[in-house]
Amino acid sequence: MIIVNLNIRGLGGEVKARYLNHIVSKEGAEFLCLQETKISSFTEARCYALWGANNIGWVFNEGINGTGSIVTMWHKEAFSYENRVAGTGFIAVLGYHLKEKFQCMVVNVYASCNFKDKVE
């Protein structure tokens, strides 16, 4: 499985989308996990623009008070989505990896600077 992970520090500007398009296609990514998107809602149009394709699924977690928003995206040809759990600072996506025919859990984490939160 190929996963690209990045704390992007805000999704503003076209440059960031261009960079994500580039790295996703260069690496043949099946998953893209982003932290600190700094947006309050995530749309289909934005998802497709970031990946540069439209056969993409996603789960978005908006975080608290506009900080710590994270998103997990995947290519639907690689992964069949079954379920998810989202909590403070994480998204867990459960599904089936189609090529390896195996159930797996992909967890995207954004831990705050205060470690007490992380342990809990």
């Binding site: 990045l6 990896h97 342990v119």
Partner: protein
Amino acid sequence: MLTTLKQSYGNLAWVVCGDFNAVRREEERKWIRGCSSHKKEIDGFNRFIENNNLLDIPCVGKKYTWYKANGTTKSRLDRFLVSDEWLQIWPAPKQYIQPRTVSDHCALVLKSCTKDWGPKPFRSLDVWLKEPGFRAMIKEKWDSYEVQGNSMSVLKDKLKLLKVDLKMWNKNVFGCVESHKRRILSETEELDGKDDA
């Protein structure tokens, strides 16, 4: 909460990635003005990894994933962690730290190295050296190749040609050693069987 989730889906292949805002070792964080790391943070993060039976993955590229804008601090805050079950399906994974571009964090790429093993090495068998005429054959073949170009590419091309000739020679002189061995073993088995009866 993650720990509870991990316990209830423990038999699945897990991968946990992201910005943990914590490091596992002192050397994963570097300050220009030598403050010391928070031992509590390091211990807490390691305990989290251990309690959830997760494994750290070897890193390729740079040492750090985050650089403070004013250049005073750099750390490895981002990483991939996987479960044992994950390794069964995707063995020998590596995380590649990418150049820093659109953020003060670097992108990470998780890949398993199952597909591409890189260039194949030049292999030889010790037994060849004991075979009479081997050295003479090599010299004769090596001198017979006519290759143009600079000396490095001549060496490379000659090795390539030699590989083909060596393959042929090995087949003619030794045949397929493995199938030989199998045949002899089965003959021995058969004879032993007769003797036992």
